[in-house]
Symmetry: C3
């Protein structure tokens, strides 16, 4: 009834429970990029994980977005707004929080359905 994907000693990248999927907070791989670029990478990582779970971005229920600097809100939204499928936007909260390392400018955590 619980399936875990990309499971390590510290966390799983995705956990499926019944029809609900919990993803780990995603950060960018290439942290030389700016907030828009990091957000694009994160959204691509989310697409990949959701696909591995048998679902997609049209079925995201909730997203929590952490920005290292809230002044980059519109830079994050530039990537986010282009990515969200019309009519399928999730519930969302965005707040400022320092992340695991200063190179990370954005982290996004989502809950989705399959």
């Amino acid at each position: 009834m619980i399936q875990r994907l990309e499971t390590g000693p510290r966390m799983s990248q995705a956990v499926i429970h019944g029809n609900t999927i919990y993803l780990a907070g995603q950060v960018a791989d290439d942290t030389t990029q700016d907030v828009t670029g990091q957000t694009r990478q994160i959204l691509a990582a989310i697409d990949k994980l959701l696909s591995d779970c048998g679902t997609d971005k049209a079925r995201i229920l909730s997203a929590t977005i952490y920005l290292a600097d809230i002044a980059t809100f519109s830079q994050m939204n530039a990537a986010w707004d282009a990515w969200v499928p019309a009519g399928h936007a999730p519930a969302r909260a965005t707040v400022e929080a320092k992340l695991a390392a200063p190179k990370y400018k954005v982290e996004i955590q989502v809950i989705a359905a399959r």
Copy 2:
């Protein structure tokens, strides 16, 4: 199986998945008010959204509360404690985080059942 309420290009204010409801992080409309006043407005907005989803505050499962200044913890609780129905308090976490604009002093994100 997924229903979205007040859906825009960026987010939905409420997303219903089976018997679980995810609300967007709610902030106050009248940001001239203090933390207690902003919290009251937010809780009224949550009441309205839950009603639109066919449920109410006695069925909230979890709440995450973000305060722009954690020193306003008791001012937020003054509104919160008066609003929570006896015997039906949700799980809750409260942390400090800067919000989308400095005028917002409180943001509350809830998961509820219907």
Copy 3:
């Protein structure tokens, strides 16, 4: 269909909805301890609550970890990594946030299955 454990006027420590359990953000009782010690106390509190809900740490779906100082990331992980059961790690996000009082160095909020 909703069961609440350790319910007070402000929050419940655990809320059970169907097969999903939402715990309140847990903090340490003995705040004279360092981040590793506070994390150990929190994880013991989570074990106890999950047990009271008829489940255990092998069934945690998602964890959100708030650190008052993100520089203590590895100190928190020292306790976390030792506690997570092999093959059952949850989805996880860790961010910096000031907590309800300066004495609290860590707060952990989990969603679990039973």
